[in-house]
Homo-oligomer: 353 residues x 4
């Protein structure tokens, strides 16, 4: 499997760069017979789209998806579903001043070392824009999981810098610009003030997300190496800017006792869910619960020291259109990644006996 | 790639169960010409071996490795290296009382749901014993990385329940029973007391590990999906009992600003390493730093409620030989997993241009 | 790796259907720094294009390729190269009469059994039109192989039904409508007469191709299972309508003695090439020589018995625009497939020691 | 997937060398619940074993298989099944005279070029001995296919040099030393005389095999690239000494017309099986029929010219214990390979809709 692909049966191959002609993906392994329309995918893309509030990048992309293949009369045929999103608002001039400089906190230096050259326009392949094809592919997985098992995959932002959002009403994630699962005025207001201030200061902030998957059948995952938690960690840590992934109690387990952390069962099922829905690499049927740490957007206006390709120290200030809190748009991407992993394992589980 | 395999070029396929005749692995993709002897592998296995102190399981396994293939006159030939470890101290009677019960905190229920049957002897495939082949394979990767780049991969325990160990002297990890990188008497003493008490109470405790890889070349990783941090997270989250993985500042980034978290560069290199050696999915050349949360051993003597295969609620008490703190033996496994990932990407990097 | 992908490092993922909006592929694993333009790909596509003579399908497709990603300033960046070809001349009405019938010699029955539904428009996914993305991907492999090793991959038609073409002048393959490596009037004339007659009779004819790869470095291939000859056979047998693949002496070896078939060496190299450039699954450095048997186009106007989806016996006559000898356009596809395989192994060989 | 592995779900990883301590394989992806005993595997190994008649190598190997993992109470558990076969009759002295010479017709030169060193003992990794693990893995696939679908996979030798064997009674393949599906005295006698003569002359001979798979469900295969015929060709061309693979009419199609080659259907099914059971890369439900060309054993006693590792021309005569007709023992291997491919696709087919 190539580096730009994910999944063994439900396999997504991602392509494109921030400022190339187009981005997209090929989704292979979609079972035949799934009803699918571009609108199913578009509604997920719209949740991730830039330019929807003053707190995210002002790049204006319609992110209109075209389904190029794999459908006949509104149903999938078992052939690969290719999805295409044209780039329309590439402002390459924004980046010309930094073309030969390694932006701090970015992949630039690694790319240059690895490939000997790099596409500096908008971060090229390393841009968070490449999460759009992931969201598109994930929309298919979400629809299939919902049909097969009633699975719901959802994510919300629970922290923006010093501001915490309680998780109390998932319907609110679409109603505020922070993907917060709350309607409480105070934290939402504080976050808005913080982001406005950061924009004035040319700085950015980190965030934390919570991901849940409900109604996941028990027994998904391959026990040694290709575990469900391992593959979720792979998928979620691979999301741009993510620096930590935890399942269930996460780092909290370091201080816990077995008698406290073990989830007892009765004939009615599990009594608790410290495990976050995964034990021994396999789903338990309880809700899968994960948390992600998203670092602050590395592109900031404040001047920083760096070096250029020639090895000389220079100053850099990134003046393009950037999300001050890149995690704000990460929720739909995290959902998509989790759905891709779950669908792949659900198909693999058909081969278990 | 099958579920029991890891790696695209350097591919390790793991087999075995806790109480079957043998465990082992096939290591494919080892470049020809590497000097290799069983002793190179044995010394790593001995670091993970059970029964070495009163704080780990008292199961007595020599874990003697036999190299079955892939060598000629002391060097690898490019053919798969098959490694075999016989199980010698299987006490299946320990497990008969719980054969049809789902042990809390264990994979039992997931296995039963997935496969319709399960091997109850010592946890079968889900036993931490299956980390031994991983350590064996990792020994090859460590040797190769050291020869190629001088890479050092090391891990230590930094926390056992409420007790924290400072990371101040890596040479100490082999000198105390906690894999702690310190010689300070106080925390070591506290940990010993805690574990003795837990054994008396029939309980267990969680722990935290720190993993480092020094002298890793820059540019390792495949930027979209198959990133270095993603694959490290996959490998490490796949380690038994791990519930969280973080890179660099980890969850700390949620509260940080970009101006604070970005690692500035000068002509001399990076000034800080908040990123933990990975940016945009590629290594930066700085030390790779990761942390793992390891849950308390789920096998405890204290009685807990659970259900059996027939769906009835029962009480369970696990009386076998178990590690009260399973994380204590995780350090060599984490090193092995990280080395496997790094070697695989180092080989893949040869194809980048 | 998904079913629509080929290659471990140089990985091509193919998508599309005959009458969908577009066909194409994502080519991952192209090393950075290769000069590449759409014209490099277009010239190969033009060799395979329909409608270029009266002996091939009269479907009019420009087969204009668009490079969607992976390039910066005329060079590959190491990111996936996505290639798009719009379908423009889909005449779905041609197929309406046969939509629920299983065309003899076609994949229809298998698709229906496997997927429970199928796209009947022009054969859908099973159409030979899907070889166009393969040709496009192969163009990249050919260019890279030529730059790295001076490799030349070439194929010609050596037989059309009863007419044989000698292989004497490779420059002629582009100068006659049969991809024959000869300028001799007699066989070319005979073949033209045969095909005209077949068109009148509503029938089709089989053919044979010869494939060669010159200047291939020795040592390509992975000895057990993933051999060079095995992978070439995989690639070439996967070409639509191919029913046999042979290397070197092929079926001729059944009657040969070892003393006759073995290729002796001297200090100057191999004295013969009965092996067709591959021994023990590895290239020898001698020209790789393979032969393919291509069955007659199954779509014929002559009436045949078949059944429909409801299980009833019906008569069928395929009146669309079809190649009377589908092998005529297979030469560029065979070249592309061989180039893809060779490039993949050439990259893998970098990891051998 | 590594080079020594085959299959996407049912994945076999092969290890070992002719004269190392052991050979074997890890079979991952075996569904749970299959009854399996070492005897199931042993009976297939015994069909391939050396030393069973005067016409095959006189190396004496019991080829006793040990199942190391994946079983519990006589059934598979879904965990990898590791199979071990100890080498017991390695006579390395046989090979010392040729250790630095490239044997004509062998992989030696390719290995040396690729890896920079090689294991000269008995051909090392390239020995036909490595087909034993394949046979062992195939035994599992055969048993599973028989249970699921009643599938029968069988192969016989149809030609040894100038001698042809009719295919008229499959029960005879175990009753004569040629794996011929006939009891006719004449061709069997001729073949015996030929092989005795070849032994006296220190020469060898090529052969042809026929492979059949009956009761294969329709719809197996993945249409583009990973086709059933493509993967069978991969598997069978990867068998040592095979130089050609054909399906159905094979090279015969080159001279056939569509009206002749197409298999018509009626409500009762297919009327003919020119396609050899595969159309468009998918099984049709008709018997799968393939043919293989096996080259004469390259190891012959007759002197031949070659070069050594230093580049000098030398004479070589291979005096070890070799099969004068390596194809004689290929039938069980071809069956095993075909069964592995069919089982893998049968599992994948569960994910098609």
């Amino acid at each position: 499997m190539s580096g730009s692909s994910m999944g063994r049966i439900f396999t997504v191959t991602n392509f494109g760069e921030s400022h190339g002609p187009a981005i997209g993906c090929v989704v292979d392994g979609v079972p035949a017979g799934l009803e699918l329309a571009a609108s199913d995918i578009q509604q997920e893309l719209d949740r991730r789209r830039p330019g929807t509030s003053r707190f995210v990048t002002q790049r204006r992309e319609a992110d209109a998806v075209e389904i190029l293949s794999g459908l006949y009369e509104g149903r999938t045929t078992g052939s690969p579903v290719a999805l295409l999103i044209r780039n329309t608002d590439q402002k390459s001039r924004d980046y010309s001043a930094i073309a030969d400089k390694f932006r701090p906190g970015h992949a630039d230096y690694g790319y240059f070392t690895k490939y000997g050259l790099r596409d500096p326009r908008g971060g090229g392949r390393s841009s968070a824009r490449l999460t759009a094809p992931t969201v598109a592919a994930g929309a298919i997985a979400k629809k299939w999981l919902a049909r097969e098992f009633g699975t719901v995959v959802r994510a919300c932002v629970t922290q923006v810098g010093p501001v915490s959002f309680p998780v109390e009403d998932w319907a609110q994630t679409g109603a505020n610009p922070f993907f917060a699962a709350t309607a409480r005025g105070e934290p939402l207001h504080e976050a808005a003030e913080l982001l406005d201030q950061l924009r004035r200061e040319g700085d950015s902030i980190g965030s934390r997300l919570r991901l849940e998957a409900l109604h996941v059948p028990a027994g998904l995952g391959e026990p040694v190496y290709d575990r469900l938690d391992a593959r979720l960690a792979f998928a979620l840590m691979g999301l741009n800017a993510v620096k930590a992934v935890s399942i269930g109690e996460g780092f909290g387990v370091c201080g816990m006792r077995g008698s406290e952390n073990n989830d007892e069962m009765t004939s009615g099922g599990f009594l608790t869910n410290h495990a976050g829905g995964i034990l021994g690499g396999l789903s338990t049927g309880e809700p899968i619960v994960a948390e992600l740490a998203v670092k602050p957007t590395p592109s900031i206006r404040r001047e920083q020291r760096t070096r250029n390709e020639a090895g000389r120290e220079v100053l850099i200030s990134t003046t393009g259109r950037h999300d001050p809190c890149v995690g704000l748009r990460a929720a739909p991407v995290a959902e998509a990644l989790a759905a891709m992993v779950l669908m792949d394992f659900a198909l693999l589980a058909r081969c278990a006996r």
